[in-house]
Amino acid sequence: MSTSVNVELQLWLTAATRDVIPSVQERVRQEILDHFEMAVEAFLEAGMSADDAHQAALDDLGTPEAMAHALRAVYPHQRFFLRAAAVCQLFAALVIVRLLVERLLPRLIVEYTFLLILAQGPCLLLALHALTRLSLQQHRLERPLELVKSALMAWCGMTLIGGLIEGALPGVAAVALGLSVLLAMIGVVWGLAWFGRALRDTEALSTALKRWLRLLFNAGAAAVLGVLVIAVLNLVLPDKNGSFAAAAALIGAGGIVIYALLCASLTWTFVRAVRQ
């Protein structure tokens, strides 16, 4: 093979496989190289010169962009994994920081509640959006997961409205918060049921990734539900330092810690995979 064609093939392979994880890259490279060599042999047998045969085999492969696009439709995007994991971590970190501040510096949380809601809401949505996109690459779950996203969006929006009018219209704020909790719970339960079914049915994901996603999603849902329980009890119980609220806070915090650990572990797994 002439040097220029060899370089061109290597560039083609690099461009075509740059978005997929290393194990997939290796498999695709191996298959394309084998395919390319067989095509070159066939062209040589047909009477072409070596350089023409190499060039024709390369042309027959098509553009690397088309290949990269087709691969992205089959395999999750490696940069997307990192982004999803990073967003999940950010959300978990924000919730944990908020819990710590609530416990250690309660005066600070009163002053900065509005800012924390502003930061936490979008982060939750981003995390859900990332997980939704991640799962949609392999499943046909648009509607249920979109419902979860909408419910959580409504939750964040109404919480924000409730937070804004809490001082002026306490009754309306309480109704808004109650409705938001209800919406989010319906959405999460509905989405969990669909997601669980899809994970059982599909053979699309590798076993390891499937296990990770299932753990992550369940822990995340547990964390979200824990936070919702806290919110409900805070609304229902006049004494927010009562034993029910404390138990709910503990459950929520436990779920969040598990979620954070899983997010960290997932990120590490993918960082290691990308570095390989």
């Binding site: 095509a39 088309a66 439709a73």
Partner: protein
């Protein structure tokens, strides 16, 4: 001719009779279609991987003359899928034929 959407059906059908590797599948499709169904060969592999992920084909590697080669074969599930897709294709083709026949 643009193969978009039909490639999985053609792959499954090509694998019905025997286990083949990627290059053989491409050549078989081109040969049987007398060159009419020509496509960019690189895109065959993502399509094959997708079929494998869905459980319609299985693959295994073999080393031949120092070269690692991956072969694909149809699974039982793939066979059922092929029958289903063929029936669907038949219905589609008949419907188009009826519309064109009216013209």
């Amino acid at each position: 001719v643009n193969l978009k959407g039909s490639l999985p059906l053609l792959i499954l059908h090509t694998l019905r009779s025997r286990t083949q590797h990627g290059y053989q599948i491409v050549q078989e499709i081109k040969r049987r279609s007398a060159g009419v169904l020509d496509f960019k060969e690189g895109t065959l592999y993502p399509a094959l991987h997708n079929l494998e992920q869905q459980g319609f084909v299985e693959s295994y590697s073999e080393t031949e003359n120092g070269r690692v080669r991956r072969y694909y074969k149809l699974t039982e599930r793939g066979r059922a899928q092929l029958d289903e897709q063929l029936a669907e294709w038949q219905r589609f083709s008949e419907a188009v034929q009826r519309v064109l026949g009216d013209a």
